[in-house]
């Protein structure tokens, strides 16, 4: 049966299911759209690529009906950002101990965020890189540049939680450029083994 959807493509000459004959469909009093094939809304005009980027909270309007992972991730990322901001402020005020305590609270949040990795491979890769960055410090404090690098990645994840894996790996490089090690402990041996170099 032909539909009245204004999104609809112009294939009304095709028959419906189970009918081999051609039928002409006549719509009487159908709502008037400028052209049946085109715009979603006749009143909407959007210039392609124009305007600012939508905020994630505006894009997903019914979080109460959303996936548990997205709700959890957005909430945790908000908390994580607050800790990073606190650490940054304390470092600039000359309080490295206070900053380190804030980073320790951040570390715990990364573990919870990793549970939301079903959001996507890119999300998982970035959170894993952040988690490993802190692990690999072995208790040493972060410097201001490293805090800022982490802050930028957290901003990115919150802005684009469904970032693709390839795009995520490009951003991970900024952590390494800040002197952080993003691979899990022992990863180099595993990589060698997978490459076959350690196989006798």
């Amino acid at each position: 049966m032909a539909a009245t959807s204004p999104y609809r493509s112009s294939t009304s000459s095709h028959t419906g299911s189970g009918h081999r004959h051609r039928t002409k469909v006549v719509m009487i009093d159908r709502p008037s759209w400028p052209e049946p094939d085109a715009a979603v809304s006749p009143t909407t005009r959007v210039s392609v690529g124009s305007g600012p980027q939508v905020e994630i909270e505006d894009l997903y309007p019914g979080l109460e009906a959303g996936s548990h992972e997205l709700i959890q991730a957005l909430s945790l990322l908000l908390a994580a950002n607050a800790h990073v901001q606190e650490a940054s402020n304390l470092l600039q005020e000359g309080d490295p101990i206070g900053a380190d305590l804030a980073i320790q609270r951040l570390h715990r949040i990364f573990a919870e965020l990793f549970n939301c990795r079903r959001l996507g491979d890119g999300f998982g890769a970035l959170i894993n890189a952040l988690f490993c960055s802190l692990e690999n410090l072995n208790g040493a404090p972060l410097n201001l540049e490293q805090v800022h690098a982490i802050s930028r990645i957290l901003d990115l994840i919150r802005r684009e939680p469904y970032i693709g894996f390839a795009a995520a790996t490009q951003h991970v490089d900024t952590l390494e450029e800040a002197g952080l090690s993003i691979d899990p402990d022992g990863f180099e041996y595993l990589a060698d083994w997978l490459d076959g170099e350690s196989v006798c």
């Binding site: 539909a3 009245t4 006549v26 159908r30 909407t44």
Partner: protein, 244 residues
Amino acid sequence: MTQAEPIRPIKDLSDFRLFTSACECRYSNAYLLWDRAGAIWAEFSDAYPSIRMLKADPGQTIFRLEERFEFNLRLDRFSVHSYGISASDEFAAVVEKFASIAMRQLQIESYSRIGMRPIFYRDYPDEATATEHLLALNLLRVPAQPSFGISGVPKNPRYIVHWEDKSKGCMIHVYVQRREFEPEALPFAWEGPPLKRLESTVLAVDVDYYTVASATVGQVNLREWITQAMHVIRRDASQFLEGK
């Protein structure tokens, strides 16, 4: 002889059935479509082998899946329509699968607009009853007749309300629609049963929910977005139907 039950007044959106849904995503012209349309459909047919082609032009390809979904891929947009699908989960999953393939193959980085448009129907035996029920919603006060020196039931009443802010917009359209299906001339030597002219009258609630600001591919999961958009549409459209 039994008399037809009178149709009870509208309570909320649960009195309506979801007739059709459409999701449309727009982006800047993706000229790679001219190189990769075949690759997109080949990959999509791996996931859904029963798709069949309806149209293949350089600027537009249309496929259909089991007479329930129709996919329309164009240079600057794609859309997916569903008919008779009550579960938005299934629709959302199909759209997300198609979008993930198309956006990757076309190397599109952002959507300029994402829209969701469900149309809900309530069937009526005649236009007069449908009109009466629509007016009873009191969305607009219609004074006692005659108005403008004209008597009788208003013809094809409809209400449209439209909102837009910096990031998204919505239009709700409530109207009475008489639908008529007329068979064309039958093939020569047709031996089947005669095809009858079909008529129906519906009260329609048509909601168009869309984004205005652009969204990067990394922000968008259409399965998630459709689920949430449908939740918001069902929740808020119902408020228009609680006639007082």
